[in-house]
Subunit: 116 residues, 4 copies
Amino acid sequence: MNATLMAPNAQYQSCLDACSKCMQLCQECFRMCLSEPDVKAREHCILDLIDCSEVCATAASAMARRSFHIDHICNLCAIVCDECASECSKFKDEHCRMCADACRQCADECRKMKSM
Amino acid sequence: MNATLMAPNAQYQSCLDACSKCMQLCQECFRMCLSEPDVKAREHCILDLIDCSEVCATAASAMARRSFHIDHICNLCAIVCDECASECSKFKDEHCRMCADACRQCADECRKMKSM
Amino acid sequence: MNATLMAPNAQYQSCLDACSKCMQLCQECFRMCLSEPDVKAREHCILDLIDCSEVCATAASAMARRSFHIDHICNLCAIVCDECASECSKFKDEHCRMCADACRQCADECRKMKSM
Amino acid sequence: MNATLMAPNAQYQSCLDACSKCMQLCQECFRMCLSEPDVKAREHCILDLIDCSEVCATAASAMARRSFHIDHICNLCAIVCDECASECSKFKDEHCRMCADACRQCADECRKMKSM
């Protein structure tokens, strides 16, 4: 176990990085959405952004400590990321586009983890 | 929607309270396990306590904002709580017994939520 | 130390409960603010609600494990709760009023903790 | 504000990255400490690792959304990181050394942020 932790395999680090990046882009997109003229149309999107940020942070922490529940946590993370990407895709601004990309990438990484 | 939020139904509040209590007992049990003479035997238990605390906190927050992913989050929470209860049940001290009870109660509440 | 943990003093539990309640009311108020007609006027308030919820959750977890940094964490929590109460007080709806009350109560409890 | 968010200045990103890295190394070190032969001597260190991980995650999230409380949150983060670095420095293993380095780097970045 220790050897694995000291030399983390590429899969773990790739997914952990995707979760950290997705958390950041969700919070940035949340802030930006709040100041958009059509904020009223973004209620569902904003809620999903906060969900996605929290679940990505939980997944990143769990992977870093090699939790025994990485498969289940990454499964949830993939679901929430996919939904958030879908909501963000409804808006044309740059921050939603970038966030949707990060969500999709994170969902892909999480799907790889849950099947390990 | 607003009416529901202003007068939260009993189911939500009951599950949210169970998650908050379980988070607290997991963190207390984590602290107590660290100072037990057989701490070396508790590595798995301690890891599960941190997982369970984090997932319970995530679930409580998601329920409070009426997230669209409560079913999936509570599903994960029930799984992690059941595992944590199982680990805590291996130890005879009072804090592990109390924590296992809180985990089982939280898992039951979460199973009710995910089927709503 | 163990004796204290098994029989937590009233001060800890009172502050921990105030943090849990404040987290819940901030997330509920966040959700409600998003669907208010004047959501555009609430950008600052909504940001403070998310800050306050996150810091209250961090403080609750730290108190439950008897962290060595409760004084500093509760100091931050009191500052963020006061600011959030101030923002919520600018709006007349029930959820903002209830949230502001919970924030002020939590700030008071946190100030007692940091001076222990 | 939007321009700043779309083109985040180097200071924010540098501190946010340091917080994310410190969170990861604290959780990895937590896991490794639990399986060390002298785990009983590491109670204080393990508690600080969990504190540090949680506060770093809170700070990263707050910076990503350009919270109004970054100065206070980064001030707390610097304090907790310094303490965690000090505890980790008492142990000679590679994971504690790497974690102490990440904590010191994060504390330095946080001190720059709180004075902005």
